[in-house]
């Protein structure tokens, strides 16, 4: 039976090139946006966020970080499809500028090329902290270019990080991390509707029944009666 991993993020396997003192686990809180680190009772599984903190505290610096390429999750996809790899530091403005130009076609391109006026399909993929940004890019594109068919796939991606000790180059650690990753295919051509993860263009009202009563139900959304100036404290989902 597979034992459930109780941390917010999947386990990290560390291979040590040299002898590095094993730091005992603490319930450290990661200050950045990502999830809070939770302690795990199993001795071998280290919460991956607190791993970064401990390596940073030990004087390690991340030397390089490489993603391991896995096969495309979309079967039968033509190879000429534009793939937008969204990273954590990517600017949405730059990503969308490039993708929109490709999808809507270069009207001013030279006539002799005869290439297709704009691409039919585009894939947005991102992993780890870039997942939310990936979804946002896809949503923006769906809004600007209407009636796009969407296919979304989730899976784990393995990322290999190499940490080096900044004092002496002797010790080095390789960290294998599996991070959740998302790939969103947007296509002007219809896709297979029976495929899990398929989303037809603009068919979201089935999920949200109350569309019309939005404005009137705003005050009803606060569970406590509003005071003279203050409404109920914000509850974030």
């Amino acid at each position: 039976m597979l034992c459930l991993n109780h941390t917010d993020t999947p386990p990290v396997s560390i291979s040590e090139a040299a002898c590095v003192p094993y730091v005992s686990m603490e319930g450290t809180e990661h200050t950045s946006q990502s999830s809070t680190a939770e302690t795990d009772s199993a001795p071998r599984m280290t919460p991956q966020v607190s791993t970064s903190i401990k390596l940073g505290q030990e004087g390690f610096k991340k030397v390089c970080r490489s993603e391991e390429d896995s096969p495309s999750p979309f079967p039968g996809l033509p190879s000429g499809v534009l793939e937008m790899r969204v990273k954590e530091g990517s600017k949405i403005r730059n990503l969308m500028g490039f993708a929109m130009a490709r999808m809507q076609g270069d009207k001013g391109a030279s006539g002799t090329e005869g290439s297709a006026r704009g691409l039919r399909q585009v894939v947005f993929s991102g992993s780890g902290r870039a997942v939310t940004k990936t979804i946002t890019c896809a949503e923006i594109m769906k809004r600007k270019v209407g009636s796009l068919h969407q296919l979304t796939k989730l899976r784990y991606k393995t990322v290999k990080e190499v940490w080096e000790n900044s004092e002496g180059g002797a010790s080095e650690m390789t960290v294998h991390r599996s991070v959740p990753s998302i790939s969103i295919l947007l296509s002007k051509d219809p896709l297979d509707p029976t495929e899990p993860g398929y989303q037809p263009p603009e068919a979201l009202s089935a999920l949200w029944e109350e569309r019309e009563g939005f404005n009137s139900s705003q005050s009803a959304a606060c569970k406590r009666p509003p005071g003279p100036f203050r409404c109920c404290p914000p509850l974030l989902y």
Partner: protein
């Protein structure tokens, strides 16, 4: 326009706007940012909304219980904004612990959020405003596929 950080009601801002130096470009009126709840959510028995406040393990166990004990063939895991990552993690771990019996179907959407801006200045030189912004949401259906 500058947005002040969300504060609990009744706490005055730390710095009075008038004492700021002229080199900083700031609004004369500071606003308190208050986020409104997202629109009222329809909730079936097998809908699970993931948030960043509740313990991850508890949310995972809740989904586990719905699938196994509750007799639901499918559950729907929703996540908004920062909780998207957590929702994806929950769904992927549910799938991993089921030894491949479960399948995932993912949909994404945009949710409109409204912020209430109230002027901090007791003179009320500004008026309460609202600002709308968009946020991404994910809906993951975790289900046992129909036997063929």
């Amino acid at each position: 326009m500058m947005m002040s950080e969300p504060r609990s009601p009744g706490v005055p801002p730390a710095v009075h706007p008038d004492t700021l130096s002229s080199t900083v470009e700031m609004d004369p009126v500071e606003y308190t940012l208050r986020k409104r709840l997202p629109r009222k959510l329809p909730k079936r028995r097998n809908d699970v909304y993931v948030n960043m406040k509740t313990d991850f393990r508890a949310q995972l166990a809740r989904c586990q219980k719905l699938l196994e004990g509750g007799g639901h063939r499918e559950i729907c895991v929703h996540g908004l904004g920062l909780a998207i990552n957590r929702a994806i993690n929950i769904a992927l771990q549910l799938q991993a612990s089921s030894q491949g019996a479960l399948q995932l179907a993912t949909n994404t959407s945009t949710v409109e959020l409204v912020d209430d801006l109230e002027p901090e200045d007791p003179d009320e030189t500004g008026e309460p405003m609202t600002r709308t912004r968009n946020n991404s949401a994910i809906h993951i259906k975790v289900f046992y596929p129909d036997p063929q």
